[in-house]
Symmetry: C2
Subunit: 202 residues, 2 copies
DNA sequence: GTCTATACAACGATAGAC
DNA sequence: GTCTATCGTTGTATAGAC
């Protein structure tokens, strides 16, 4: 890679880093393009040499997050035949989601804000929620086929679980003056969703 | 009340109605003050005679919603001694929340959007969530005192349930081309939270 | 109280020099 | 590719006539 391109890549990275930093502080919606260039120490015009909009930059951040090929989310080895009525398997799924949220908080929170800010009439909130919980839905359908009695429609149950994770993750992430033990949270959610409020707890 | 005041009240009401309508269509964040006055058929300047900001108008809408003194939420007769591990009592609580969300969707959704748009650093998301689930928390604490085994810290469990309701309600509310049977949703959530995914279902 | 008109700030986006 | 400078739009808020 030539020096020219290296410089460009440097600026691009600087913009991405600055954006991530600001998204964490002020949130995606409250961060303006001019804020990002300023934070990155670049001129306003330079932004458009790398991205056409704030949303595209967000997609780039998301891409970079996925590119890290988290060992956690090994989609290759993720058969439909998972049984979420099994406590260990349920916990594993919740742990992955929760960990991703915690480790990539700026990006995930930004995506969450972008989703909420969309026009209600667009149906984006529901579509995104269903899309991101597709895996859960499949597992639940599988369990249902095995004769397990579920609380209701797999799509709805999956969406409900996804909603809990997303909103709680966002809230916990914004909490100040309050410490959270991630393992304890995951255990709590696991117990709540596995056996419910009245289920057996030993 | 004089004619003068009546006219003023009329404008105020027109603004509130217009706002509610637009909040439902485009969402709170995408609705501008000028949009509201335009929709209400009033001049921009008139807005500030009644409200100092869009947020204050939202508070007024919220107030009006509470003023209807929903028979549903009879806080007067709402002792701490409710047992959410009892299926019927749990369902009752979920039904109330869900119904309020569905019947006052424009206002509740707007509040949700305002909460999410706040700076993450403000901690508003967590504070609001904890505040709105205070009742649940008290019920859970009571159950714990009665020797029931809960999934975890009452505040966290209450927040998790509140998160699920808020986000799912928002998403369902935005869904297009998808019909929801409110009773079915409430039943599903009740079963999920009462007995969990693996709990007994007859 | 309501209107018209307008000041003012913020922000996105582009042009042109280097 | 990056910069400075600037245009144009949008939206908040106020001034002053009626």
């Amino acid at each position: 890679m030539g020096v020219r391109k290296a410089k460009a890549a440097e600026t691009r990275t600087a913009l991405l880093d600055a954006a991530r930093r600001l998204f964490a502080e002020r949130g995606y919606l409250n961060t303006k393009i001019t804020d990002i260039t300023k934070e990155a120490g670049r001129a306003t015009g330079s932004f458009y040499e790398h991205f056409t909009s704030k949303d595209e930059l967000l997609q780039a951040l998301l891409q970079g997050m996925e590119d890290r090929a988290d060992e956690l989310v090994d989609t290759a080895v993720h058969p439909r035949e998972h049984d979420l009525t099994d406590r260990a398997q349920l916990r594993q799924h919740l742990a992955v989601s929760w960990t991703v949220f915690r480790e990539h908080a700026p990006v995930v929170s930004a995506l969450f804000q972008a989703m909420i800010a969309a026009e209600p009439g667009s149906g984006r909130a529901w579509n995104d929620l269903v899309g991101e919980t597709g895996i859960l839905k499949q597992h639940l359908e599988y369990s249902a086929e095995q004769g397990k009695a579920l609380p209701g429609d797999p799509e709805l149950v999956a969406a409900a679980i996804g909603a809990m994770l997303a909103m709680l993750g966002y809230a916990v992430n914004s909490a100040r003056g309050r410490e959270f033990d991630d393992d304890a949270v995951i255990d709590t959610l696991t117990d709540l969703l596995h056996s419910g409020l009245a289920g057996p707890r030993d």
